[in-house]
Point group: C2
Chain length 408, copies 2
């Protein structure tokens, strides 16, 4: 007998029929003798409908009132799911974030959870009830309703699992797990049975949009085993957990992530003196442009080339900023390209295996793919290549690093 926290997103509870499907899934766990606590999102489309109502009144809605408004979305779902369970003969009770209570700071629309009172939940569990909690919302110390920001229901699920010391937190989604790479690009992409939090963070931040980054961080911090599962199909999904020292045959590479949304910019011939990096990136971040990879090389002539990547939508704006900066710094010129893509190998095994980088460069060289930028971290190697080579590169790497599912 285990204690599971389930989290169902907006699509999984997007209609009365789907809510009834979710109730059946929960019943299966109860029938097997497990305890279940559930965090749910608003029915898909509902949050947008509420935001549109607010925007019809004002383009600057009071953040406190915005939270009062949008938090009704999850409240509707918890009531309906609880009714559906009661109808199936599974005793259930629903709670809003304030009722639980999920204590947050007072940063409306982007609050952070500070504490969860587990008394009511534990009381219900001990009486055999399923407990349904509204995701995405909480309450501050003064009793004001807060929300965690969009997608925050994952965080609610993980935080509940941590507070209750649950055996696993199940995140039900529209995919059946985390794959070694995007199955739309590599036919032989394989569902991973297991992945570490760190690997998942690198995969997530690189475009595998299965889980919200914050909830993975949170799960890692509190060592809550996370399992990604399909909300309507059967299967074991992918378990995201802490590194398992005992597994001898840990794969070197867990997966390959890529991101098509990047563009690169280079300031060429910058004088190589202290403070140059901040002079270049300062105005960029002041314009609220997020910078991803940053690479700098010293050249022989006491100047350096400074390269970084930004979201493709920010390319034109960034280029304009750089032209001004380059002039004031006495740099030679500014160049850039939007037709690039970032490909990353991710794997904790990299830590103890040398030669991963050189093998990666080898594989790309054999396919005649030129590497424009290289950036590495402890469990990740990223390269920027021309976008047209994306599929070719990912497939070659997927095979070379033994990730292919040969049953496909």
């Amino acid at each position: 007998m285990a204690l599971y926290v389930h989290k169902y997103g907006g699509t999984s509870v997007g209609s009365v029929e789907r809510i009834e499907g979710v109730a059946k899934k929960i019943k299966k766990f109860k029938d097997e003798g497990h305890d279940v606590v559930v965090a749910v999102s608003a029915m898909s489309g509902e949050t947008n409908r509420l935001i549109e109502l607010a925007n019809a009144i004002t383009d600057q809605p009071t953040p406190r009132e915005m939270d009062v408004l949008v938090s009704t979305g999850e409240q509707v779902t918890i009531a309906l799911l609880s009714m559906a369970l009661n109808k199936l003969g599974v005793p259930a009770r629903s709670y809003t974030g304030a009722q639980v209570k999920i204590l947050t700071d007072s940063a409306h629309m982007k609050a952070r959870i500070q504490d969860i009172d587990t008394n009511k939940i534990k009381g219900d569990l001990s009486e055999g009830r399923v407990v349904i909690v509204a995701g995405f919302q909480g309450v501050d110390g003064d009793g004001n309703i807060t929300t965690l920001g969009r997608g925050g229901s994952d965080t609610t699920g993980v935080a509940l699992a941590a507070a209750l010391n649950a055996d696993e937190c199940h995140i039900y989604t529209d995919v059946d797990g985390v794959y070694t790479t995007d199955p739309r690009v590599v036919e032989k992409a394989r569902r991973m049975d297991k992945i570490t939090f760190e690997e998942m963070l690198e995969m997530a931040s690189l475009g595998s949009k299965v889980l919200q980054i914050r909830s993975v961080e949170f799960a890692g911090k509190y060592k809550v085993p996370l399992r990604v599962l399909h909300s309507s199909k059967e299967g074991n999904g992918t378990l995201i957990t802490i590194e398992d020292d005992e597994s001898v045959e840990q794969p070197v590479i867990s997966g390959i992530a890529f991101n098509r949304d990047e563009a690169k910019l280079t300031v060429l011939g910058v004088p190589d003196i202290p403070g140059v990096a901040s002079k270049i990136l300062g105005p960029v971040s002041a314009a609220n442009i997020e910078v991803d990879m940053i690479v700098q090389n010293v050249a022989a002539d006491k100047t350096t080339d400074f390269t970084f990547t930004v979201h493709r939508n920010d390319f034109v704006k960034t280029e304009a900023i750089l032209r001004e900066v380059a002039q004031s710094l006495g740099a030679r010129e500014v160049s850039g390209a939007k037709d690039i893509t970032k490909v990353s190998l991710v794997g904790v095994g990299m830590r103890s295996h040398a030669g991963v980088a050189s093998k990666m460069f080898d594989v790309l060289a054999q396919e005649n793919i030129n590497i424009q930028i290289i950036s590495t971290s402890e469990i990740k190697i990223s390269v920027v290549i021309a976008e047209k080579y994306l599929e070719l590169a990912v497939r070659a790497l997927h095979t070379a690093f033994d990730l292919d599912d040969n049953d496909k």
Copy 2:
């Protein structure tokens, strides 16, 4: 400077535009230096939409979860109205029933208010804010969300006014006040400036659907002056208040109410022995049929005729029950009619004026209208007549008792 509690119903806040209109109305009171606390209903149609969602899952929704569900309706309105006020530069803050807190018993879907904590509201008022409270909802001692039953927002408004010792409670509706009778029947019907709680109760229970009966009772009990006003038109509406002993020229009759929804049934030739009334009405109320007027006359031959009225929808069902009862009682026969109507004169002045009844019967006799049943209370005389005479009777009485608005 006064403290007003405003209550706006579902139609008054039925769209974003109407919510903005309500905000402007509230602003006017603030600009005049008054304090305002507002109770609001769900946007019209919203509560039904939520109930339909629940009914799509089960025809027996858990009452506790039903309250979690439908209470979101008012929560949406308070947030939007608060935003609209903030946009107009009027500082405002919204509260759910639980946040206030409006403490109720635990009778889900028909809870009764036990206590209102006014601390937060008074704090906001002292800082110059308008306070918006979700009508129709509260919270029980265990923190469960409760609702007061449909139409309960009136009760919330009155209860807030009582707890805050407000100068007046304004109920904004789609009529501009309480009329001496239905203006659709009597063209010269006059808006009353003032009416007593008792008179309003008699008018309301007889079909003047301006106010919820419970809220009038509540207002009378706590002596909260109620004013019925139109939510979009100007005007002073009708003040419902305690009897004013000092007004010398109190009218004898305040208004004429009528009810087309009744049907009458008579058990003829019932043996006149103790316990007969309960033997007749017992099975009727056991079938959940509500009985209105009850009249019994002793006849010369030691039998009696027992007559009562029910809602027209219950006529057939009641008749079937009575046929069985009549047989077991040895009564002569059962007769009934659906083409009847009840007309009532209402007025506290009746207490100190003799002759109202005989004048009423006189007026009807002059119009050749036969009276089928008579029933009186301290401030009301009701007669049942054939439905076809309804308009004729009400108009004749309206003129005879000096209620006509001669400017029309």
